[in-house]
């Protein structure tokens, strides 16, 4: 068995182990761990677009919301039909939740395709703005769908998210992104990042690579959204606005774009930071933004990018 697959298997076993003992862990710590896991999924998947492929998307929260809403809708509207009035056994519930999550992920991937095909023709600033625009449009649409709660948000989502699902999907996300980037096919992402014109010249279809990266990232954002919705049990359209997208982008930048390990560390740090800084919570965003500016001025390759002396632009 190749090494990455072993790692994946090992992580799944660990996830199962942790969830088995989860009733002995302090609920507050479990909550924080769940938050960290969801943020890792978001950051690692966005890293595929913003880091490895070198495109700048500011609409990740939009895809997250698509996943969150559709997975929640599946759970709310279909669960009574499939699971019966008593809610079914643990296994039935798990299988159903997996289905709901995949529905959310696939719808987000579909949204990613619809958004990506036209907008990935643009570059840099323009791409950032168009993705931001799409993110906002998605938000406005959810605000207007009364069936999904409209502006008030969707309540009463069953709390299916357990630590097992979060850790398992963290493992799957890291596995997929790492294997994709390190495969022969995946070199194309890096080539697109390094020099698009040169990549085109050697016959790579860079547009295709960008779309693949974008759709994959959107899929995992959708999964993360589904996990988030079934964790918080209530979602509102404004929870997935521009600020949320920026938060994810900051994780990717802080970790060093195109460096999965760094991005994971950054996601952990940035989820823990608000918990630790709770006494001075009102300064949190000021610290964030100062950090961002200082980082770009002093260490643009990211905080956790340890390839010394090999600063990528």
């Amino acid at each position: 068995m190749p090494r990455p697959h072993l790692y994946l298997l090992a992580s799944l076993v660990v996830a199962f182990g942790i969830s088995y003992f989860s009733d002995r862990i302090d609920p507050y710590h479990l909550d924080v761990l769940t938050g960290i896991g969801i943020n890792i999924i978001l950051a690692v998947s966005l890293n595929l677009v913003n880091g490895y492929t070198g495109q700048f998307s500011l609409g990740h929260a939009g895809f997250m919301s698509v996943g969150a809403y559709l997975a929640a809708a599946v759970s709310i509207f279909l669960a009574p039909k499939f699971l019966g009035p008593d809610g079914g056994t643990v296994w039935q519930q798990g299988l159903f939740f997996l289905g709901a999550l995949l529905t959310g992920g696939l719808s987000a991937a579909g949204a990613g395709l619809i958004v990506g095909v036209p907008s990935l023709r643009l570059k840099g600033d323009y791409l950032a703005l168009v993705t931001l625009g799409f993110g906002e449009i998605i938000r406005v649409i959810f605000q207007n769908v009364e069936k999904l709660g409209g502006a008030l948000g969707l309540n009463g989502i069953p709390a299916y998210t357990s630590i097992f699902w979060v850790l398992a999907f963290v493992a799957v996300t890291i596995f997929t992104v790492t294997c994709l980037v390190n495969s022969t096919y995946g070199r194309g992402f890096l080539a697109t990042h390094d020099d698009e014109i040169a990549a085109e010249a050697v016959g790579l279809n860079t547009t295709r690579y960008k779309i693949v990266a974008f759709v994959t990232a959107a899929f995992f954002a959708g999964i993360a959204g589904g996990l988030y919705g079934h964790f918080k049990m209530t979602i509102t359209p404004t929870g997935f606005d521009f600020t949320k997208s920026i938060e994810i982008v900051v994780m990717v930048i802080l970790g060093g774009m195109g460096n999965t390990l760094g991005v994971i560390l950054a996601a952990v740090l940035l989820t823990l930071l608000p918990e630790l800084l709770r006494p001075i919570a009102e300064y949190r965003m000021v610290i964030y933004s100062t950090l961002l500016i200082a980082l770009m001025l002093v260490r643009p390759q990211g905080l956790f990018n340890f390839h010394l002396g090999k600063a990528k632009s």
């Binding site: 625009g133 207007n144 500016i293």
Partner: protein
């Protein structure tokens, strides 16, 4: 018909404010080729300067209002120059993406420092200009709307004059065309860029005060939406193009007001972004912009 004209009027006065903000985006893009995300927060700071000074001048007088307007414009011009000097200048040769991220950082810093300093709760903007409603047949024109349109027109012509007729304006156009060649003929690029930021930020401050007069509730995050929309206006008209920014702003304001008055009113906020996407896909150079081919 009356309703149409009334909406058109409301739309134009909203569009005039978008135009003022869009000018700042367009000018900075013209000389530095990057989106100054922090511009929308300079707009917010302008409104807050107006709020604090507004309590120290006699209410509802023309000279008091103009005094506040001028002071806010000067304050924001200084702020713009400060931001440029401290943050953007060290990054002048950095990749676009880094500058973009930094600009987002500056924007967040201004917003959240604003929340700390001014408080997050919305405030009511004092009526610094005298207000009255004029009736033109069945139409109602408020003095604030007239003020917005006239201030915008005056500033637009002043800007046009500076850019086309003065020495510094010529230098700005030279830097925008080719910064290296400009410095070769002895133009001080740093000064020109600084001046551009000052000018753009002053326009944003004027926009902020006029916006606050028409929608008299201000808070530290008030700049986000108008800022994004003004940016769309700048792209719509062709980024880097001053008349284009004005045209884009007026068009966007009008369209948005009409959508707001129809049964689609809840989709009002999405319209600007839909326009943005359509324009970038079909005519990325904007309505008045020139199309340039990317060179290797």
């Amino acid at each position: 018909m009356t309703e149409f004209l009334q909406q058109l009027l409301n739309g134009l006065s909203l569009g005039a404010i978008y135009a003022l903000i869009a000018l700042g985006y367009t000018m900075v893009y013209g000389v530095l080729r990057f989106i100054n995300f922090a511009h929308s927060d300079v707009f917010m700071v302008g409104a807050f300067i107006g709020y604090y000074l507004g309590h120290h001048v006699p209410e509802s007088t023309v000279w008091g209002g103009l005094l506040v307007l001028t002071a806010a414009m000067i304050g924001c011009a200084l702020l713009g120059m400060l931001i440029e000097r401290l943050v953007y200048r060290p990054l002048r040769s950095a990749p676009t993406l880094n500058v973009l991220i930094t600009a987002i950082g500056v924007s967040l810093l201004l917003e959240y420092t604003g929340q700390l300093v001014f408080g997050a709760a919305p405030r009511t903007f004092p009526p610094i200009f005298p207000s009255a409603n004029f009736h033109l047949g069945p139409l109602t024109i408020s003095s604030n709307q007239l003020l917005v349109i006239s201030v915008t027109l005056i500033l637009l012509f002043a800007l046009r004059f500076i850019v086309m007729r003065t020495k510094i304006g010529t230098a700005m156009r030279a830097v925008s065309l080719n910064p290296r060649a400009a410095s070769l003929v002895g133009i001080n690029n740093d000064f020109v860029i600084s001046f551009t930021f000052a000018l753009g930020s002053a326009m944003a401050a004027a926009g902020g005060i006029l916006y606050a007069l028409n929608y008299p509730s201000i808070d530290p995050l008030m700049g986000v939406m108008p800022g994004l929309k003004a940016f769309v206006a700048a792209i719509l008209g062709g980024i880097g193009n001053i008349p284009g920014a004005a045209l884009g702003g007026l068009l966007l304001g009008t369209v948005e007001t009409f959508v707001g008055g129809s049964e689609w009113s809840t989709y009002k906020d999405a319209i600007a972004f839909a326009i943005l996407i359509v324009i970038l896909l079909f005519r990325p150079a904007g309505l008045l912009g020139k199309f340039t081919v990317e060179k290797v």
